[in-house]
């Protein structure tokens, strides 16, 4: 019959209008600046540097090995190693800059880091009023605590923490074994004496 399709369509749109006032399903818009969609745990944007303890600069896990700098595809990472008064290299970055305007958020730096020092953040409201300095972020702004890392990515951070603890335990055991071996090496003369 002529016009039944039109009536069917009108009914559907009317259901949309009425439903939009009481059914979340029919009005799924999130009012962005006021409310935000909770990001997924594996959502990533820009990298940040993890530090342990309270002092951001002292607790940095970064040892300035520059693997991330070499691996970074768009080469947005810039590192200068710290040197002590004798010009001897120290395991600490003097300069660690990331240019967020160049970074493509691939996360390769976080993947290659053998010290779990650089991780991917989930901030997305980044805008600078300056093209050159605002988005060129230094180590002071990059450093974020392990606590923050736990907040944004709990499972991943737990896994990293347990792995680090395991490494530390192994290192201690190895050191102990070494010490024991050294002690054993030092001991034999007395044992042969007896």
């Amino acid at each position: 019959m002529l016009g039944t399709g039109i009536l069917k369509g009108l009914k559907e749109t009317a259901r949309n209008v009425i439903g939009s006032f009481r059914d979340k399903e029919r009005l799924p818009t999130v009012m962005y600046p006021e409310e935000k969609v909770k990001t997924k745990e594996n959502f990533r944007t820009f990298p940040f540097l993890v530090f342990d303890g309270n002092d951001a600069m002292l607790g940095l896990r970064c040892v300035s090995c520059r693997i991330c700098e070499k691996e970074c595809p768009p080469q947005c990472i810039f590192i200068i190693q710290e040197r002590d008064e004798n010009n001897k290299a120290v395991k600490h970055p003097r300069v660690f800059d990331i240019d967020f305007s160049v970074c493509m958020q691939c996360g390769i730096c976080a993947e290659v880091c053998p010290f779990d020092a650089i991780k991917m953040d989930n901030i997305y409201e980044l805008a600078g009023d300056d093209r050159f300095t605002g988005l060129l972020v230094d180590k002071h702004r990059l450093a974020k605590s392990n606590h923050y890392y736990h907040q944004i990515k709990p499972t991943e951070a737990d896994e990293v923490d347990s792995r680090l603890a395991e490494d530390r335990r192994k290192a201690e055991e190895a050191a102990k074994a070494k010490a024991a071996a050294a002690a054993a090496k030092a001991a034999p003369p007395s044992s042969t004496a007896t």
Partner: protein, 390 residues
């Protein structure tokens, strides 16, 4: 005069009071000016309201909230739109016909406002009571086609000219069934005076013309044609953005564009007002006991209903193809409207007891048969053969 009547006639009394301040020889002119100013003021603000209602309504239909940033619940959105339109640069194409390009929006907005002069908005509330009111309405309304073609020709743009050619073809095609639908009312009331047509429908909703077999069909025909005449979806082919950018509006910006936009809405409301006057009892209350509500409120209530229906249909139906558009006008609406005139004559000459069954017996097969015909003209089944494209 009691309070109810006083409120009912408030606009008229206000006008008389204002006119009283002027010397006698100026009074008719001042009265005219006040009527014109009132029409422009009221319907321009209704235009603003209906754009807001349209944007909110379409939003809800499409599962989104619509404008909600300007003012509480986005109420000030029309104001923001207006300011934006006014401060935009007015660009005239280098090779455009400057005179036509400038005159087209003016030549469109003037008739759009002029048609309101014969619409009875309430009891005794009509700017110009004219014995040929209905004729005047359609005559002035037809002149908008000229201004649309002026816009298309003056823009010196292929999209504009194609859009305006489409608009002319569409509007002339749909003018015919629309006027034929209106003729039934003229036949029955034997008057072209809009005020008399409204008065003929006094006494409750069963006295309205829509409650007769010919009136219902005529209103439906009239409404479909009104959609096409005001270039609204699903008949917005002249402005089909996927094919013609914006049709005759392509080369217009700033305030000239706003005038075109306003003319579209004014035309939509004027034609709804005419449908209300002809078929839905104008300013008459649906029940005699509801007469205490001012008559102009009834008119504007019915008008609001029509505007909502226009928005609802725009949000629901996809755009027609050009050949479907023409088929609907010439193969469906025109024969129905012609048959309907005969039925209106039967209604006048015989009693309702004869006219009702005869009308149903004639109309139902006609609508179904013509609908089948319409569907038959649509290519379906079989392999589609492309003649020019591989």
């Amino acid at each position: 005069m009691n309070l109810v009547e006083r409120i009912d006639q408030a606009p008229l009394l206000l006008q008389r009071w204002a006119v009283g301040f002027f010397p006698a020889f100026l009074q008719p002119w001042v009265a005219m000016l006040i009527s014109a100013a009132a029409i422009i003021g009221v319907f321009a603000s209704l235009f603003a309201l209906s754009t807001l209602a349209e944007r909110k309504g379409l939003g809800r239909i499409q599962n989104r909230p619509g404008p909600n940033r300007v003012g509480p619940f986005g109420m000030l959105q029309p104001l923001a739109d207006g300011i934006k339109m006014l401060i935009k640069e007015d660009i005239v194409p280098l090779r455009a016909d400057k005179v036509l390009h400038f005159l087209a929006p003016i030549a469109l907005i003037v008739p759009s406002l002029l048609v309101y002069s014969v619409l009875p908005i309430g009891r005794n509330l009509v700017a110009m009571q004219c014995q040929l009111g209905v004729l005047l309405f359609f005559a002035i309304g037809a002149s908008t086609e000229l201004s649309i073609f002026m816009a298309g020709w003056g823009s010196h743009n292929k999209y504009s000219i194609l859009g305006s050619i489409r608009a002319i073809a569409q509007m002339i095609s749909y003018e015919l069934p629309m006027v034929l639908a209106a003729i039934t009312v003229i036949l029955v009331t034997s008057s072209l005076d809009t005020v008399k047509i409204v008065e003929a429908q006094a006494g409750g909703f069963w006295a309205w013309h829509v409650c007769t077999p010919w009136g219902a069909i005529a209103l439906l025909t009239f409404f479909i044609c009104a959609l096409a005449e005001s270039n609204r979806a699903p008949f917005d082919l002249p402005e089909a953005e996927s094919e013609l950018i914006a049709g005759h509006l392509t080369e217009y910006s700033g305030f000239k564009y706003a005038l075109f936009f306003m003319a579209e809405y004014l035309g939509m409301m004027a034609i709804s007002g005419m449908a209300i006057t002809l078929f839905l009892g104008g300013w008459q209350a649906p029940l005699p006991m509801l007469d205490f509500i001012p008559s102009w409120l009834w008119f504007f209530g019915k008008l609001a209903g029509f505007v909502v229906l226009f928005i609802w249909i725009r949000g629901t139906l996809p755009r027609l193809r050009a050949d479907q558009l023409m088929n609907l006008a010439w193969k469906f609406l025109l024969p129905i409207a012609l048959l309907n005139i005969g039925l209106a004559g039967l209604w006048v000459k015989s009693s309702a007891w004869i006219a009702w069954p005869v009308s149903i017996l004639l109309l139902v097969p006609a609508v179904i048969g013509l609908g089948r015909l319409l569907r038959g003209s649509r290519p379906r089944g079989g392999k589609r053969i492309y003649q020019y494209a591989d």
